[in-house]
């Protein structure tokens, strides 16, 4: 059952008890009684499948509590299995807190897969990785690509099965930050974006919905063929530059969440990626230009 097949009243009730949604290879059980969050989720999670009768890997809650600083103000707190990994957030940031919390839970717990810190899309059954640290513009680029002919795997996690060499899609809401919110609203006026949440740790955040087809196809895995280390530089033309295998290895390994935790398996998985993928550094600013360049590279091979 899809979220948008459930009336809001019932959805809200499920959230009160614990709503289970399938997000890529994981099921997440979300529990909250905070109604404004329920309304946001009902809009932004509408294409996700519910998994009420399945095992959930992650159990998260958003609870409201009185603020320490101002007794007349309420805060929200994120809980993972009843434990609180963050300080509390202002109520208006409930959705951001939830989304960050789920990311954190994935990043610290999952060790049966290699977790690259990377935007991931797919074209012609080949995965394209954009490994980068926050601030590189990978979420923005990823949002554009996923609504312009590429299938979204994730704007944040490259989930690789180290034995099979395949990637698992995990399409989640894409948190656009600051200037990129207006950029995307202009460039992709047709897509659903949650309301802007100002004054978070990362400035203003607004969550873009993944394309419906990307969520529907999120059980289809694929192998990687391209790795671009992206860098957004204002007004630059699109430039791609090949890099040495050794440098690509270092960049990829140092940017994974759990490369060292996986030990020899992580080493072999990254070596496999470097051997089987074409690796480039990518500088860009214009979306049309970068898409044309990517398309040209893809068509050439």
């Amino acid at each position: 059952m899809m979220v948008n097949q459930i009336p809001f009243k019932e959805f809200h009730l499920l959230l009160n008890q614990g709503l289970r949604v399938a997000i890529g290879p994981f099921n997440v059980c979300i529990q909250t009684t905070y109604k404004p969050l329920a309304e946001q989720l009902y809009q932004l999670y509408r294409h996700y499948r519910t998994a009420q009768n399945e095992i959930a890997e992650f159990h998260v809650r958003i609870v409201t509590e009185r603020s320490n600083k101002n007794p007349f103000e309420k805060n929200v707190r994120f809980l993972l299995d009843g434990q609180s990994p963050f300080e509390s957030f202002p109520q208006a940031q409930a959705l951001a807190a939830l989304e960050w919390g789920i990311n954190l839970a994935i990043a610290v717990r999952v060790s049966h897969l290699l977790l690259l810190h990377s935007a991931v899309v797919e074209k012609n059954n080949h995965v394209i990785l954009f490994p980068a640290w926050p601030g590189s513009g990978k979420t923005t680029l990823c949002t554009v690509l996923s609504y312009r002919g590429f299938r979204l795997f994730s704007d944040e996690f490259g989930l690789m099965d180290p034995q099979q060499g395949t990637f698992y899609p995990i399409p989640r809401l894409m948190p656009l930050k600051n200037e990129s919110i207006a950029v995307i609203r202009n460039y992709l006026p047709e897509i659903t974006i949650g309301k802007s949440i100002p004054n978070t740790q990362k400035g203003t955040v607004a969550h873009a919905c993944p394309p419906e087809e990307s969520i529907q196809q999120s059980t289809l895995t694929a192998k990687a063929k391209w790795i671009f280390f992206p860098k957004w530089i204002a007004d630059s033309t699109t430039k791609i530059e090949t890099i040495s295998d050794s440098e690509a290895f270092m960049l990829l390994a140092s940017n994974a969440f759990n490369y060292e935790v996986l030990g020899a398996k992580g080493f072999q998985a990254v070596a496999y990626l470097i051997r089987t993928c074409n690796c480039y550094k990518l500088v860009y600013s214009d979306f049309e230009d970068v898409m044309a360049t990517l398309q040209r590279l893809i068509d050439e091979t």
Binding site: I55, E57, H59, G82, S111, H112, V261, G263
Partner: protein
């Protein structure tokens, strides 16, 4: 007295003591089991048990992935601890002394069954008090540093604790806890560290490393649980105790006599009593009946009854979605107990006030 556990804790205990029953677990039960096992660091242990009992293929895939993740993390932390020890030995190569490896790393060195799945975050070492200053400065020359701590904490470690402030190498993350005694110095109990070195045994393949003798290893484990720690979520440590006693008693038929003799000699038999009692109560450790009667001192009946009520409530994890009020109270009382037995009141009260204030600042 019987063991009474909430339903969710029974799911956890059964899984550990009788893995064959896991084939009957429903998805809901598996899920609740995994969430609790993670809380008390037993994912690695469950993984090993399921494989040992040839049940791995019956595990739901979503559960199996979480178990593997837990096992991989335990493996990684063990590798880090072993490497930290390797680097410390390298620095101390020309320093003529012995170091005793404690806890997780020791269990690994004696090949204790299931040690492979044990989650050990820190490296714990015991050194002779006379060596302490030299070892600390040798390590600091080679890149180990104390984590930045407050002046109060520094004072706490140096004056009252049985270890120095934790050391971490600048290029790595593993915390090294160097102890010079097994019990904080503020405690009325005293165990002469020299006595432990006298009976320590060599570790195969590591000339500089020694291990506590089997009975001392058991006693140390019991002391940590019932004297040094607050017991909350320490189920794994009680399982260590059960594993150690089971393992050593199978190797040496005089083990139980040696154990009680040593506890009497060190004047900690009332602590070992709790270790024996709860290991048997919870994990059905097979301990000869006479063992307890050989102990010179035991807690009084009332104390025993209270501990019987409180300890299991604290050892087992709370239900992750709705915590029991009785278990929360048990934890608070045992927290207070752990401090009362460690420090005289004139140190304890300011200490607790300081810790409480700091939490709210």
């Amino acid at each position: 007295m019987k063991l009474e556990l909430p339903r969710h804790n029974q799911l956890l205990l059964q899984a550990i003591t009788t893995p064959s029953c896991l084939v009957q677990y429903t998805d809901i039960e598996w899920e609740l089991l995994i969430r609790q096992a993670r809380r008390v660091k037993l994912l690695g242990r469950l993984t090993l048990l399921l494989k040992e009992h040839h049940l791995w293929d019956t595990v739901p895939p979503r559960v199996a992935n979480q178990l593997i993740s837990g096992f991989v993390q335990a493996e990684k932390l063990q590798q880090l601890c072993s490497w930290e020890l390797n680097r410390i030995l390298w620095v101390l190569e020309d320093f003529d002394t012995h170091i005793i490896a404690l806890k997780g790393i020791a269990y690994k060195l004696i090949d204790l069954p299931y040690a492979k799945g044990r989650l050990s975050v820190d490296l714990d070492l015991l050194v002779r008090e006379a060596d302490l200053a030299d070892i600390e400065s040798l390590l600091m020359i080679k890149g180990w540093k104390h984590r930045p701590i407050s002046a109060y904490d520094e004072h706490y470690y140096r004056s009252w604790s049985h270890e120095i402030p934790p050391l971490v190498h600048t290029e790595r993350e593993t915390e090294v806890d160097i102890h010079h005694a097994l019990i904080p110095v503020t405690t009325q109990l005293k165990i002469d560290t020299a006595l432990l070195f006298d009976t320590a045994i060599p570790a195969a393949g590591h000339p500089k490393i020694k291990l506590l003798s089997p009975v001392d290893m058991v006693i140390h484990c019991a002391i940590n649980l019932f004297q040094n720690n607050e017991i909350a979520n320490d189920l794994r440590d009680l399982l260590d105790l059960h594993d150690l006693m089971t393992h050593f008693s199978q190797q040496d038929e005089d083990f139980w006599i040696q154990l009680t003799d040593r506890a009497n000699q060190l004047k900690i038999s009332h602590i070992l009593f709790y270790g024996l009692y709860f290991s048997q109560l919870i994990f059905s450790t097979s301990i000869p009946e006479k063992t307890v009667t050989r102990l010179n001192s035991k807690p009084g009946k009332l104390k025993h009854r209270i501990m019987h009520r409180l300890v299991p409530l604290a050892l087992f994890p709370q239900h992750p979605d709705h915590s029991l009020r009785s278990a929360s109270w048990a934890r608070r009382l045992l927290y207070l107990r752990s401090h009362l037995i460690r420090m005289p009141l004139y140190i304890l009260l300011p200490h607790l006030i300081y810790k409480t204030i700091r939490r709210y600042l």
